[in-house]
Amino acid sequence: MADSPSDKLASAEILNTPILGPGHDFASVTDKISAIVLSRRTPKWWILGFLVSFALVMLLMVATTYLLVKGVGIWGITIPIGWGFAIINFVWWIGIGHAGTLISAILLLLRQQWRTSINRFAEAMTLFAVSCAGIFPLIHMGRPWLGYWLFPYPDTMKMWPNFRSPLVWDAFAVSTYATVSLLFWFIGLIPDLATLRDRAKNRAAKMIYGLLAMGWRGSAVHWERHETASLLLAGLATPLVLSVHTIVSFDFAFAIVPGWHATIFPPYFVAGAIYAGFAMVLTLSIPIRKLFRLEDFITMRHLDNMAKVMLATGLIVGYGYMMETFTAFYSGNEYERFMILNRMTGPYAPVYWSLIACNIVTPQLLWFRKIRAKVGALFAIAMVVNLGMWLERFVIVITSLHRDFLPSSWHMYYPTRWDIFTFVGTIGLFLFLVFLFLRYLPLISIFEMRTLVAEEEKKEAAN
């Protein structure tokens, strides 16, 4: 990806780069963002990307249909590796979602203004990633049509879910997370939908955005309650997002399998989730700012900040790997020790060392300002981290299971083509939803950008 002139900044200038390009007022931010949605001309790259991702969604449909017909035997899972790709992908996707909530909720509470222009699509990314994540445990059950058994309802068998099981906690955590993220996202969208309603020329667009905006008219009292609700939701979403990956890590940590049974799992999973999520936000925002010419709104300062968050969380993840290794030896438990040696030197050693190269070694480049100032380099590092986080979940799930206590039951795990089709299919579904979102909803929160303009004007007046 070629750097645009505004990207070619001397590295020291980044910190002085404003979070909003110069010369913008209320009207210009409104028009620029809403024009992306309301323009009658659909960009060619959009049509191409949409078609490719749609084709991959069809692949997902085929893979899932074949799975429903034949059963989970079409996958590479065996005994003792009962979890395979489905759980690797589940954890990977749900982790990616976490950055969206971090940006929309935690950075809101911390009053980080730079979050404004990336918060909307990061939240959308959360929703789409959680949708992809939710598919996997469901289809992994073998009989997905009985998935509702996870929820408590007075059934004729007089049975209840086992509330002492992390898998049931997981069902509650992920569905709560999906619901709250959707509500939070929609609340933020209402004023922008009203803007689209007022600016749309097309009658059908006016109707649809009008219905969704629910008659929002920007009354001062409404804004007051809207702000209160947003802050409260941010306050609720903050512990929620931390709880979700904590509970996902309980799925592993509550088991006695060596390599899973570790108290460091919750914080290490949460840090990994934010790490993976910021990598994905960078992966998406770099092409988006380029293709929609939004360099004024998503500035180098944003990319720099995200790179720093990635570096910090990456170091926490590195600490997690280190402690895992240390604890295995310090415990004096022969199974734990074998597990870690098997990871490093066993049949899956190349995967383990690739993971270390992707997640620990490569991101160290982000220490250098010069590298953080290069858009292409940031994109490449983000892609490497995306891959590395997937490998991490592979290592946790597969290498822990494939050689456990009993050598007679040891086994290797190889994914089949259906595992790969399903995984690639969910990447397609994710991109498909992202493409739809980019074309039909404002990808940057317009009203928050107007607030930002007002604050910048106040600052200027004060100077």
Partner: protein, 179 residues
């Protein structure tokens, strides 16, 4: 000239948030009580200027959270200790530490429902029809213009006097709102 009862109110348009805030304060100080201000983004102090004091939303969210938490815990207690008790090696049926995650999730879920639906209900949304949209330039209230409305049902409302008063606030224009 229309009779006061046949209009919803008068609407003044301003170019900047500062002008609107000042105008809202003056209108409130002049004794008008049925007023509303419209802006394309939240303006600090504007709700207070039009006479809005405290939102009850936080209380509703607290109640939602308490309901969700108690309900979530009771659900698990009922399932594990009342409806289908299983004795596992004499361990307590009401194993409350294991019930905390679901209790927490239910607290957050119901508090979030209360925040979202409470906000919408108190704001009276969805509103399928509202007279302010009859002002053609009101479409700019979601872009870069700021509006102040004095409703006809204000006890002090008098079409001529109120119009004159609004002209003194230095607006771009003052228009009548069709009901």
């Amino acid at each position: 000239m229309k009779h006061p009862e046949t209009i919803y109110g008068l609407m003044a348009e301003f170019a900047t948030p500062e002008q609107l805030l000042e105008a809202a304060r003056q209108t409130h100080d002049a004794g008008y009580t049925r007023i509303d201000a419209f802006a394309p983004f939240p303006i600090e102090g504007l709700a207070h200027a039009v006479g809005f004091h405290r939102s009850r939303l936080p209380l509703i969210v607290l109640l939602g959270g308490i309901f969700g938490g108690c309900g979530g815990f009771y659900l698990q207690y009922y399932a594990a200790a009342v409806s289908y008790p299983i004795n596992v090696g004499g361990r307590p049926l009401n194993s409350w530490p294991a019930f905390i995650p679901v209790t927490f999730e239910m607290t957050v879920l119901f508090a979030a429902f209360a925040a979202v639906f409470g906000m919408l209900a108190m704001n009276g949304l969805p509103t399928p029809y509202h007279p302010v949209f009859n002002v053609p330039r009101f479409a700019l209230a979601s872009r870069d213009r700021f509006f102040l409305c004095i409703k006809a049902r204000d006890p002090m409302f008098d079409l001529e006097l109120t119009r004159k008063f609004m002209q003194t606030l230095n607006p771009r224009e003052v228009v009548e709102i069709e009901p």
